[in-house]
């Protein structure tokens, strides 16, 4: 997890685009400037960053389901719940599902666990927006390779 870069996923461990489900591992770093402020003397992973982990896990899957035809921009978080505290060094597992692939939007459901215990879940809405630049789309392949996501296989 590269917290300061908002790149939350270390690697995907399962991607089933046909089944519309994917699982990813995100290891919380031991050190980060985030923990200097949240909170001084009590480093605690911010809940909004757990939402981001769920959004990125499901977002990559939305990209694959929609053939990498646009960028899935997080537009809505419903029933978002943070169920347990997460600390530096924790290894987290997230599962994202695409429950609906609409025209220009998608709906996902995501959950997260730490050591087998549920830590968070939410229903996520994405708008699929045109890639703002060809460079962004081209850069996705290298990023995908780094996190073990089979992106090129599903690109239209």
């Amino acid at each position: 997890m590269r917290l300061e870069y908002f790149q939350m996923i270390d690697r995907f461990v399962a991607v089933d685009v046909g089944g519309r489900v994917a699982r990813a591992i995100c290891k919380v770093p031991l050190q980060s400037t985030v923990f200097e402020g949240h909170f001084p003397g009590y480093p605690l992973m911010p809940g909004v960053l757990l939402i981001e982990c769920m959004a990125q896990t499901t977002g990559w899957l939305v990209s694959a389901v929609t053939g990498f035809t646009g960028l899935p921009a997080l537009a809505g978080v419903k029933e978002g719940k943070i169920r347990n505290a997460v600390f530096p060094g924790d290894e987290l597992e997230f599962e994202g599902k695409v429950i609906h692939d609409g025209s220009g939007y998608a709906i996902g459901e995501a959950k997260g666990w730490c050591k087998g215990a549920a830590i968070c879940d939410a229903t996520l809405t994405y708008r699929i927006i045109p890639y703002p630049s060809p460079e962004l789309r081209a850069g996705l392949w290298e990023w995908a390779e780094r996190i073990n996501f089979p992106a090129k296989e599903f690109a239209k």
Binding site: A75, G76, H100, G102, S103, G104, Y105, I107, T125, R127
Partner: protein, 93 residues
């Protein structure tokens, strides 16, 4: 048996917390009911699910942006319901 309009009006009332009696076939979803684009995604999701269709929002938006259609054609509810009925018929064809 409820009509397409009844079902759509029910979805809009529930999704956007708009009193059901304010939702009429002549209502324009954006101009009259003041539904914004994000709330409309929730409505589209509920309509897609309820009727087993996929509202072609991208195509409609493109047509409006290109001046080939007006928002009335897709967002006045009686017209939206006609489009829904067409999509349902096309699915069964």
């Amino acid at each position: 048996m409820s009509t397409t309009f009844d079902k759509v009006a029910e979805i809009i009332a529930e999704t956007c917390d708009i009193p059901r009696e304010n939702i009429k076939p002549e209502s324009h979803a954006i101009n009259d009911l003041e539904i914004d684009s994000l709330d409309f995604l929730d409505i589209a999701f509920a309509i897609d699910k309820a009727f087993g269709i996929k509202l072609p929002l991208e195509q409609w938006t493109q047509e409006v942006n290109d001046g080939k259609a007006t928002t009335d054609q897709y967002f006045v509810l009686k017209n939206l319901c006609e489009r829904i009925d067409e999509l349902i018929a096309a699915k069964g064809a």
